[in-house]
Symmetry: C2
Subunit: 261 residues, 2 copies
Amino acid sequence: MFNLPSEVLVSKKNILEHLARLIIEGRLRTDEIMPTEMSLSSHFGVSRTMVRDILKTLESKGFIERKTNVGTRIRSIHSWNLLDQEVLDWSCGALTQSRFLLSLLELRLIIEPQAAALAAVRANDVDLQQIRAHYQRMSDSVKKEPDPRAILDTEADIDFHKAIMKASGNLFVSQFGGAIRAALHHTIYLSNKATLDVFKSLECHHKVLEAIENRNSEAAYLSMAKVLNNTITDLGLQTTGLIMLEGNSVNKIGSFPETLP
Amino acid sequence: MFNLPSEVLVSKKNILEHLARLIIEGRLRTDEIMPTEMSLSSHFGVSRTMVRDILKTLESKGFIERKTNVGTRIRSIHSWNLLDQEVLDWSCGALTQSRFLLSLLELRLIIEPQAAALAAVRANDVDLQQIRAHYQRMSDSVKKEPDPRAILDTEADIDFHKAIMKASGNLFVSQFGGAIRAALHHTIYLSNKATLDVFKSLECHHKVLEAIENRNSEAAYLSMAKVLNNTITDLGLQTTGLIMLEGNSVNKIGSFPETLP
DNA sequence: AAAGTTAATTTGTCATACAAATTGACCGGA
DNA sequence: TCCGGTCAATTTGTATGACAAATTAACTTT
């Protein structure tokens, strides 16, 4: 159970990731007690100091809880720091279930259109410049490969969205950069790329850019929502229950009660 | 600078909080290098082990970055884990500037109406039961003190909102419990309580409850937005730039371009 | 059987030593 | 003068062994 895969060398990073995966994949179940620091130490062949260091990291991610003479108890998923960059990375590798990606896309659908709307009102010249620059990078990457299976520069895409969140002027909204990155990587991983219409995507991104530059917050909101909805439909997924604007009228997306575990 | 206030005893928790406050208050500026672990150890009169433990925590909050032979460098606010419970608590004490609270309320306005809408569609019986129970606690606390300066049970209020976020069925939305708690505590701290109309507030909360129980996601969205807007106006604040539904029509709240530092 | 006491276990803290990595100074040569 | 490389110093990272503190579980006593 606690054995590292034989091909990886024993290092702090590897042990940390290994334990994190055991928890995320559910092979260590909630409320279960992990082995003592001493036994982990001898098992992995590292010092207790290092084991404690690793456990402290896991604790800061919300994975475990430690008590004197009780040991380290696994905490439930509701306590995990899901927005932490590393947690997201590990989760994407482990939780291939679509519930995870759907939750992530839902979150983007809640945050990003509003971030775009705020950016349209608040972005300063530097912000605008950066957003445009990142768009340009996306655009360039497509034009370089003029065949229909062209691929968008993922990093440019991520930076574009992050720049908009930064331009929103809201300290908390800017915290979701990691979520964007994870969602995009996961999206690319799941899609067989051929199904993604990069030209349509690029055009939608351009509309977002224009709207923000024109200080049109409503258009910014709408076009950002379109960008995200495109991604969702391209993946063959569907969101339900969110209240979104669409065109000039209120639109209640979907109507199927869905109960989740 | 690094001296603890003389009245507090030297303990892990106190040193941690002290350093965190120094950073949050800006007395340790971005990119500045902190003293070495050794000197901190002798300064505070604790072992280097404990200093490292504390620094590791600060690192996990995004406050500092450590490099061999360089030392520990203070990171900018954009790297801080603002949604972390402790970071929020410390920040509320330190950053009394209204920008912080306004960002927090804006975040709630983005997340919570959507969470309520999702809850209306997805909540199961247990969820509904809990939401109602928390509302009941709020209601009881008001009725106990039937004078006009009655005070709402803050913890019940927090639990009510958290229960709704949990009922949204979205893993990430449930992560904002800490933000709610901080916002409410900060709100109560800033308001002189007399200005808060608890009866109106209670009534609005009841409408949220009803809407969710009736599976009416649009009404849930609208009434939750009202709850939050009441809070904002009660504090004499104003949000600008968000795209919200209001009644049956799209409403672009505010229109003043606001550039933030 | 209940309550209090003791012993054992496990995490928390300490002290010391050495390893690894990075910087910066020093030195040599073209 | 400038470039390059070597070497030493500094600082964080890891290892080890010991003891403190806290909590559980067993045990004893009434």
